[in-house]
């Protein structure tokens, strides 16, 4: 039974270490957290304040323009388009979660050949994104292996110009993201699965539960916290860590069909000398995510997940 009051809470009973005062207890906690916060302040506080400053000046370095960059940003149709594509990419979240859980559960069973499988499923994430990008650039070709396989299976009408057609490019990129990110989810879920007490499985076995039922009714509830956290991370990854995929595969094309937030920032900060707008976008993404995270965890707390 997880107790949100924590181990300390139970000890705040009279007669048990009454010398342990509130302040001393909290001081320890603060000390534990301090070093991490120092590093974070260093790496993030300065740049973020700089970003705010940049966003308030012409091109980030010129005269003061107040909120003009933000206004320009909101008027730019590409602003909405980029964010929309990040949101569309969220479609991979359920896929990643389901696949991770199933595969991790399978690996946990340790059936024949599992030692090999556990290395193979993790290989994609060990590779730099550029390898995946180049390889999938070939796989997705009009005359490439994917279409050839589809045709061989009699599914020829599904064969498309995956990366060259604006209708499919984003899905194609999403496919590469799933391919690569799956391993991370599997490792994470697996690390939690091994913590589940065996007794729970024993009782399920006694009750005659099948594999799928055990998974749904025993394993998944135990995984609820880590899945909740994993979903939070995936969402963040799809907003802020997909740059490499898009850059290697399509550079945002064809047209702007795979243009995402990071590419918007990259083009403006590094290519068009519009640091002010790029910074404004960054600030908005940060604010957006902070508030989203806030509500997400509030919501999770409300559903008693932790």
């Amino acid at each position: 039974m997880s107790d949100s009051s924590g181990a300390w809470g139970e000890l705040a009973r009279p007669g048990v270490r009454t010398q342990v005062g509130r302040l001393r207890r909290f001081r320890t906690a603060y000390l534990l957290v301090l070093p991490a916060c120092c590093f974070l302040a260093f790496t993030y506080a300065y740049p973020v304040t700089q970003l705010i400053v940049f966003s308030l000046h012409q091109r980030g370095r010129g005269e003061w323009v107040g909120l003009a960059n933000y206004r320009l940003l909101l008027l730019d149709p590409l602003f909405r388009v980029s964010l929309l594509h990040n949101v569309l990419l969220l479609g991979v979240v359920p896929i990643l979660v389901c696949l991770s859980v199933i595969v991790a559960a399978l690996l946990h069973e340790q059936f024949r050949g599992w030692k090999v499988y556990r290395i193979v499923v993790f290989l994609p994430i060990m590779l730099p994104v550029v390898v995946a990008g180049i390889a999938f650039g070939f796989i997705y070709e009009v005359h490439g292996p994917l279409n050839i396989t589809l045709q061989a299976l009699g599914l020829g009408r599904f064969a498309q110009n995956w990366l060259g057609d604006a209708r499919f490019a984003l899905s194609a990129v999403a496919g590469v993201v799933v391919w690569r990110q799956l391993g991370f989810g599997i490792v994470l879920i697996l690390a939690r699965i091994v913590q589940i007490p065996l007794e729970l499985y024993d009782s399920a076995g006694i009750d005659g539960a099948g594999w799928w039922q055990t998974l749904r009714l025993v394993t998944v509830p135990q995984l609820s916290t880590i899945i909740a956290f994993y979903v939070g991370v995936i969402v963040i990854e799809l907003f802020s860590w997909v740059f490499n995929y898009v850059y290697v595969l399509t550079k945002g094309g064809p047209g702007f069909s795979t243009y995402v937030s990071e590419l918007f920032i990259y083009d403006r900060a590094f290519g068009y000398d519009q640091m002010g707008i790029a910074s404004a976008f960054s600030v908005m993404v940060l604010v957006g995510v902070v508030t989203s995270m806030f509500f997400y965890f509030t919501w999770l707390r409300g559903r008693d997940v932790f």
């Binding site: 009051s5 290395i119 550029v130």
Partner: protein, 262 residues
């Protein structure tokens, strides 16, 4: 399962066969088997990309960054998970939100900062940046793992008079070993493969990392695929070894032998 493996292996297959192809062979048949087979690419990697020095730099960078990040994140995660202190909630959400800061955004301010304090092209600059990016993830996940730790053991240890450092070292860490190792492996892979930060903060020949060294084989318009793949084949070997070493810890059904009932 088999289908999954086949799909997972495709790009790796591509990487390995490309490493053995000649330029013309690659142009003629990007996805077929190499014919003729050549080791020329590997030789070029050694000759032109100073892979050994780059590898050494990458090793130093990876171990320092991940080590420091773990050292700093573990106590913090424990505090967030099991010690409710005022402001914990808010701080945790803030740190979690930092995961969403794209590297692109903070790159220029950080770069200017490092140049101003003359730390550019030194290890500490890159390590500081990497640690900064690793901490939010680590704290986020380790907190989740620590919350799930069996309370009885921890309470027992506290009642036995355990102070916090000992508690962490002797009880919490061993219990959470699978999670810690999982985090370490994932972070090692990230830092090792990371390109953009390494490119901008470590530009001199002496300080360049392995991955950056391989970019010498690409120009403005195209990347020389066979030789780059050869370099990447070499670069991925240490990562695979790290993973194989680490995976024993969180798949062995490690249970610590102390969890009974509840």
């Amino acid at each position: 399962m088999l289908v999954l493996c086949a799909v997972a292996l495709l790009p790796i297959y591509f990487m390995v066969i490309s490493a053995f192809k000649t330029d013309v062979g690659y142009a003629q048949s990007p996805l077929g088997l190499p014919h003729p087979i050549t080791l020329e690419n590997f030789l070029r990697v050694f000759r032109q990309s100073s892979i050994l020095r780059g590898g050494a730099n990458s090793v130093v960078l990876t171990i320092s960054s991940v080590g420091i990040a773990l050292l700093v994140s573990t106590p913090a995660a424990y505090a967030f998970a099991r010690m409710p202190f005022p402001g914990a909630d808010l701080l945790f959400r803030l740190i979690a939100a930092l995961m969403a800061v794209p590297v692109i955004s903070v790159l220029i301010p950080l770069f200017v900062f490092m140049v101003n304090v003359h730390l550019i092209n030194t290890y500490p600059a890159a390590i500081l940046v990497y640690v900064g990016f690793l901490i939010p993830y680590k704290i986020f996940f380790l907190t989740a793992f620590f919350r799930q730790l069996p309370s009885p053991i921890i309470e027992a240890a506290i009642l036995d008079g355990c102070n916090t450092p000992t508690l962490l070292r002797r009880v919490v860490v061993p219990l959470a070993k699978p999670a810690l190792i999982a985090m370490a492996v994932i972070s090692i892979i990230w830092v090792w493969n990371e390109l953009l930060i390494a490119l901008v903060f470590l530009q001199t020949d002496a300080s360049r990392t392995l991955m950056v060294g391989l970019t010498v084989f690409q120009d403005e318009f195209r990347i020389d695929v066979p030789v780059t793949m050869a370099g990447l084949v070499l670069a991925v070997v240490p990562i695979v070894l790290v993973y194989m070493a680490g995976i024993r810890y969180f798949v062995s059904g490690f249970l610590g032998g102390a969890v009974h009932g509840e």
